[in-house]
């Protein structure tokens, strides 16, 4: 444990990788929230795959492997792909999902062709562009992380500045247009920020898995909160935890690639959130359901007693549990329900098998019978 801490602080490679992955997690967490809320989860996938030909072309044209240059190529390709996709939707009858699929496959296929071509070039043996397919975090340099951090700060500042506008875009675009905002420009801005966020992650996670970093933190964060601000903050936090956690875990084991490990980390967070989150989590919903079912049983027994009581002048008259059992579908539960109703003070046990309503129980049963329209 102490060794890990020591390594993070003083091991250059691990520190750089962990920082870079953390920053990447934060940025993709923030912008992924908007993508998820706007039901554009696939957009991230398309942009990241579409970045591949940009990477290859940047290398072919300049012959340089400078990360900044190559990532600029990636960003341009991602951006062109996005604009192309938007104009396909606007000008043809092709729907959004098909347009995304079209652009993704065409760009990615073209990128793979270029990559193969580059590998066959005589001078390209060391090109190492394949690292952008699945990411190679170990090649991150301190300068790269600095560029990533600056870009992230710019993105964060823009999201805060355009907070209201981005919210309007995500919730009700048409309404935003009627109150005077140029929604298409705001859309292009937000999508461009998403492109930048994706490009930031390409070196670490790669084009194939980057979409997970866009969708997963936001999907996990949505489980825990009902407020946009908190959702975005949580999403950034989850992204950062996954990034740093993945970097550390992969450093502890030899031959465990960083990018996929980060994606596994965020997947674990998603899984936990799906099950454990309050209100939206599966476990919570399951508990809520069984509680409802139990309350329903209690009500049913109370109403049965009430129905019996109505046949007597003395409303608080006692009845045998055996009678109640014949009235109830789930017979085995009757005794348990009666005991619980007794602790609630709604029912009194007259003798071992004889049960009657209390005054409070009578009132409760009457109001139940009224709200259920006498369904008992």
């Amino acid at each position: 444990m102490i060794e890990i801490l020591y390594n993070i602080l003083f091991d250059y490679t691990l520190r750089t990788v962990a920082l870079g992955a953390g920053v990447l997690g934060i940025v993709s967490g923030i912008l992924g929230s908007y993508a998820v809320l706007r039901k554009q989860s696939l957009l991230g996938d398309t942009i990241s795959h579409a970045a591949l030909p940009g990477i290859a072309l940047a290398f072919l044209f300049t012959g340089s492997k400078s990360v900044l240059l190559i990532l600029t190529g990636a960003a341009l390709a991602g951006w062109v792909a996005t604009l192309l996709m938007i104009s396909i939707i606007r000008t043809t009858r092709i729907k959004e999902d098909s347009a995304l699929g079209l652009v993704l496959s065409v760009f990615f296929g073209f990128g793979l062709v270029l990559l193969t071509y580059i590998q066959k070039l005589p001078n390209a043996t060391q090109a190492g562009l394949e690292k952008f397919l699945f990411g190679q975090a170990a090649t991150l340099l301190a300068e790269d992380v600095l560029v990533m951090a600056i870009l992230s700060l710019v993105i964060l500042a823009l999201v805060l500045l355009f907070w209201k506008e981005f919210k309007l875009l995500s919730f009700d675009e048409d309404f935003g247009a009627t109150v005077g905002f140029p929604m298409r420009s705001i859309d292009i801005l937000l999508t461009s920020l998403l492109v930048v966020a994706i490009v930031i992650g390409l070196q670490t996670v790669g084009v194939v898995l980057m979409s997970a970093m866009i969708v997963a933190p936001a999907a996990a964060a949505r489980q825990w909160t009902n407020r946009l601000g908190i959702m975005i903050a949580l999403s950034a936090l989850f992204g950062a935890i996954a990034g740093i956690g993945g970097a550390i875990i992969s450093s502890l084991t030899s031959k465990l690639p960083t990018g996929p490990t980060i994606v596994l980390c965020i997947s674990a967070i998603v899984l936990l959130s799906l099950f454990l989150a309050p209100a939206r989590g599966l476990v919570w919903q399951w508990i809520q359901q069984s509680r409802n079912r139990h309350n329903f049983h209690l009500d049913a027994v109370l109403l049965d007693l009430y129905a019996l009581a109505q046949q007597h002048r003395d409303r608080l008259h006692g009845h045998h549990a055996a009678v109640l059992k014949t009235m109830n579908l789930k017979q085995s539960a009757v005794n348990r329900c009666l005991r619980e109703l007794k602790t609630q003070g709604l029912v009194r046990q007259i003798s071992r098998d004889l049960w009657g309503l209390t005054e409070a129980g009578l009132q409760q049963a009457e109001s139940l019978a009224n709200t259920q329209g006498g369904a008992a």
Partner: protein, 270 residues
């Protein structure tokens, strides 16, 4: 007062709250609206009725500049829409947004203030007060902190209305505000629309329920891609016009005629 050529050109033109001229709009070459001319006088409560696919929503969206027409123009109080945007408030169809969006009622209502706030500025106390006032008018004060995913259909509709109210508009364009709401909400909405009219505002409503047109509205437009008729309800909402808009058999017309005959025979008896 400013003097403009419009005044010389057509002195009556400024009087219309909304004036639509030769509006044609097409989706993929199939006309959705065909050569619509419409004049809406200020201060009326107007229903747009017509069968499914008649272009009612399209017409509203075109008035708001959300859809680009092939030809024609829309003017608001004599000026093009772009100059008059602040005069209009839009209540879209309830189902047009995702109600699972992570936000609360007050926040949605505050979106109605965004236009006046402009770029970058966040809502202030004054905006919040206006939003709470609007929520009171639609009977939703207690729900201001409620998560929007927990609202019923009628409550969602009221939130959308409150959002339009805080815009302080002159003209309200509403797309099916009565769609799938409970009786209480329908009552609340119609009272609200009538009080807006009493304040001199113009309200245009895409409406589905022919039964209530005469009770709720004083102005009506019958639409079926082309304009069938528009004007005061008692002159315009006739059997002939309804048949033109809806085609031969209109269940509503049969019901209305039976009622009318029943009314006559009762009169004869008395």
């Amino acid at each position: 007062m400013k003097f403009s050529y419009n005044d010389i050109d057509d002195p009556g033109r400024r009087d219309w709250a909304i004036k639509v001229e030769d509006l044609t709009l097409a989706y993929n070459e199939k006309p959705a609206l065909w050569d619509i001319d419409l004049e809406v006088p200020p201060g009326v409560l107007m229903a747009i009725v017509g069968p499914n696919g008649a272009g009612k929503t399209t017409l509203i969206k075109a008035m708001l500049g959300l859809l680009k027409p092939v030809a024609g123009s829309v003017s608001i109080f004599g000026k093009p829409y772009k100059a008059q945007r602040h005069m209009l408030a839009y209540v879209p169809q309830r189902r047009s947004v995702d109600w699972d969006f992570p936000t609360n009622v007050l926040d949605v209502v505050l979106m109605g203030r965004y236009g006046e706030l402009g770029w970058f500025k966040r809502p202030r106390t004054k905006d919040r007060e206006m939003a709470m006032e609007a929520l009171e008018k639609v009977g939703m004060t207690d729900f201001s902190k409620r998560q929007i995913s927990e609202l019923s259909g009628g409550q969602q509709q009221r939130v959308f209305l409150a959002r339009a109210l805080v815009q302080n508009a002159n003209i309200y364009l509403m797309d099916e505000p009565f769609q799938g709401v409970d009786a209480t909400t329908e009552r609340t909405i119609i009272d609200l629309l009538k009080s807006l009219r009493a304040e001199g505002k113009t309200v245009v409503v895409v409406h589905h329920d022919l039964q209530t047109v005469s009770d709720y509205f004083d102005w009506v437009m019958l639409l079926n891609v082309r304009k069938i008729a528009s004007g005061p309800v008692e002159e315009t909402f006739t059997d002939d016009n309804l048949r033109l808009a809806y085609g031969g058999h209109v269940a509503f017309l049969q019901a209305r005629n039976i009622q009318a005959q029943a009314g006559k025979s009762e009169k004869v008896r008395s």
